[in-house]
Symmetry: C2
Subunit: 582 residues, 2 copies
Amino acid sequence: MYRTHHCNELTINHINQQVTLAGWVQRIRKLGAITFIDLRDRYGITQLAFYEDADKETFDQANQLGREFVIQATGTVRERASKNPNLPTGDIEVVPHRLTVLNPSKVPPFTIEDETDGGEELRMKYRYLDLRRSPLKNNLLHRYRVGMEVRKYLDSLGFVDIETPFLIKSTPEGARDFVVPSRMHPGHFYALPQSPQTFKQLLMVAGFDRYYQIVRCFRDEDLRADRQPEFTQIDCEMAFVEQEDILQTFEGLLRHLLREIKGIDTGPFPRISYHDAMRLYGSDKPDIRFGMQFIDLTRSAKGSEFKVFEEAELILAINAEKCAHFTRKQIDQLAEYVKRPQIGASGLAWIKWDENGLKSSFDKFFTPEKLTHLAHTAGMQQGDLLLIMAGPAGKTRKALHELRMHLGQTLGLRNPDQFAPLWVLDFPLLEWDEETRRWHAMHHPFTAPKPEDIHLLDSDPGSVRANAYDLVLNGNEIGGGSIRIFDKALQNKMFKLLGFSEEKAREQFGFLMNAFEYGAPPHGGIAFGFDRLVALLGGQETIRDFIAFPKNNSGRDLMIDAPSYIDDQQLHELHITLKYAQ
Amino acid sequence: MYRTHHCNELTINHINQQVTLAGWVQRIRKLGAITFIDLRDRYGITQLAFYEDADKETFDQANQLGREFVIQATGTVRERASKNPNLPTGDIEVVPHRLTVLNPSKVPPFTIEDETDGGEELRMKYRYLDLRRSPLKNNLLHRYRVGMEVRKYLDSLGFVDIETPFLIKSTPEGARDFVVPSRMHPGHFYALPQSPQTFKQLLMVAGFDRYYQIVRCFRDEDLRADRQPEFTQIDCEMAFVEQEDILQTFEGLLRHLLREIKGIDTGPFPRISYHDAMRLYGSDKPDIRFGMQFIDLTRSAKGSEFKVFEEAELILAINAEKCAHFTRKQIDQLAEYVKRPQIGASGLAWIKWDENGLKSSFDKFFTPEKLTHLAHTAGMQQGDLLLIMAGPAGKTRKALHELRMHLGQTLGLRNPDQFAPLWVLDFPLLEWDEETRRWHAMHHPFTAPKPEDIHLLDSDPGSVRANAYDLVLNGNEIGGGSIRIFDKALQNKMFKLLGFSEEKAREQFGFLMNAFEYGAPPHGGIAFGFDRLVALLGGQETIRDFIAFPKNNSGRDLMIDAPSYIDDQQLHELHITLKYAQ
């Protein structure tokens, strides 16, 4: 037995008891004839106090210790002279009469404190030390709790966790696969799953009715900031359901999590159509923690000499309430923001309504009456600042969305402790890709069109809406899914629309199409990005801080130094050669 | 809403209620003017009854249905004329007035019944149909329950599920890795983990104290019957523990599972040393559901003209109690069994003690007195049959172990509903490999030697025992683990003993050795083969029947046809070429 208690357990009730603790040396304070050591384990911190007068030998030993040494201390619990009300064990200290160094430690390359001095790369390399810091440790414990609550909720509804294979078959659709050369079948490769999509559908065909899995998925994409080549999904599927059943079930899941993890009840989630989301927020994942919905001024702003407005396909505004006090410089900075290449807007017009009345960036083109009319149309009140963008529809919406988010951030309207979930519904089934000159599935090729739109599949595919839905939280898509096509003829039609030859479709999805011939039930599902969900519930947006051993932006694990070269013998056995000499 | 109830729910309490059910047509019986349909969903079966007289139209529709059609039926619950006490819904039937075919089905390639007529290959190809059969369906539901009980137990003890990466680094030690070529780092490869061993140790260094994961692992080995290239492990690690803590904790886990899943309390598990296991059972995973321990007759059987005994290094026997009635033919069959090439014994000697007294296969060499003496030494009683093997020690033990298991099976002593767990302790740290002429780690290179044996590491490495343990259930190793080395100097010594150059060790395990310099706590762990555990708790030994989508013996998934060729474009992007043209 290395210890009798954890470092969070001892209180005034243990006074005079003999205890043994084990853990890491967090901090050493030498005050003349007394040395204090904060001893840390996963559970908490307990103060050890070494008194030179009482026990010179142990005192001397304690003075030899360094930060992060692993020690075991046996001693007596005493009431502290000066208590620390911020610590569960703050009323007591342990006065050891025996001290054992279980393992010494070199001086860590960065400080193991809540705020550390270590750079990103260094902390990635020594991830096992970074994980000792409370913020990261608590993130992982939080992640575990979220996962268990997911399981509890789904279990209570009869969902069954069924493991699907990791060594599967490469599909050309979607993102790039990671592949695994087969030793036993020369020239053949497995692929790692981008999601268990087809397997969960097969489980519905098999009759399992309600399936879930918290499962690793893989995508070999060019990494953007805070994207991981391997990520975790809460993957779910239900049979004999309509869209409404799924929305209810998984709204229930997120409400359960918010209740259990955050102690919040949001009430029923609002719903918005994809069309309205784009119209009012310029985004299919609006952050509705704050207002600033788009105001369409395309009609009312026209009819002047102001070319920017006259030539624009779309004129949109957001009303920054009570922001009329913004200085010219602040407004210029907003303009700079939207002109950055990532956003690429050509400019920003504005109307300000302060105590001096209305003023705009296009005063010379507008009569005061016309300006007043425009301000009223936009719903401005005194004290408001109206920000206006004009140009091609898609680009303008996107740019104003970015501005809205930026402004929300600036104004402190995106409070990470506030949770505003939202269902986005009625996504288009297909989107046209100019490059390949063909339709792509917006969700995936198995997504069912809305029954009332099926008749448009031939005549006007772009207008067909899907029984597809996203769950959005604070401007992040945390889950998405659809009702699936379970009719073989309709599925074939979809493959045709998506430009799959019959042969290609059969080669890639033959097993699923076969399965659909043997009594596939109506079914649908959803998948949540677990990393993102956990981060958001933790009040943060950086998923890397919620993954035990993440990879960096070029897909490397800096700690174990992977990927790396492999032996020639291994290559030989796998029947492959490298294109370039090592 | 596709249904108001599941197919296991309706009872006499629902009589006269209007209900809607949905599911698969399991069976159709046409009895003149009545057609009965057994409707099946995941939860159960309900009988639908269609009466020609009452509703000709629906009756006619019902007669058009085929097996495995997916239907929805709305009707009234009626008390049955002839009840079926074997079915939870056996008191009632539903008389539908509306019937909808949700999806038709082709005739399945094999019958979807508890006993099917489908061959192994066919059922693998149509796995989604095979999974509809109750035995397989129940296996997966059972697997889920075991998994959840594992989580509940470990959660209650403060274990935390932490996900470790799948894209890691290849290590030459142990079995072959599956590797994943990197697109972003030409010539570099990730490897899929054979186990999260090093990561769970790093999590202990990071201070997580108690870790678990139910996690997929990968081994690219030549497949033996019922081995899978991907398999699932319950992976656990604890810090600040000694071996006894681990044995208690995980004995508790298996007892919890046996109690919750099987309703059995086995009491505390017996323990045996590796040495005694080999001595008494010739195996490090003895099946102790039955006795027949080895009896060493090496001394007492010598001293005759019988060359087989005289020249043998070891003479061992097992006493088949009450088997004196075995015929000559039966005994010959046992001899044939051990002479098969897989076992390779040269023969089988025996002593039989029936109502006519003692008789043996070596009567001409032994006086009656000597035979009697030998029988007594072996502990025979009248009615027993003693089976004796002689030869080189290792081979003889192994062969007699096989014979013991075979006989136990034949005599019905290996009851799958009986559970006999056993700890096997004190494994040797190292085993000598004749081929490579070097020591190999019996468990793995991080296993700690017993402190009292450390002094033998230089002088007599083969005699050093490890703090390693296996949990054996009914003759199967279901879990194994060890206390780890947490001292860097000792770890370096181990690497040296195992023939790792310093450079190689640093290249492969540098990150772990580094981690050990920054305050590694004492720690140890265990991993359970989840597939095997689930199968055994299900009273079976074939793990494939407990995996949703298993691979066949050559590592192929016959349903999705993986592994398969990939595009040249993919190969190109991965910077590899195939050795042989496709």
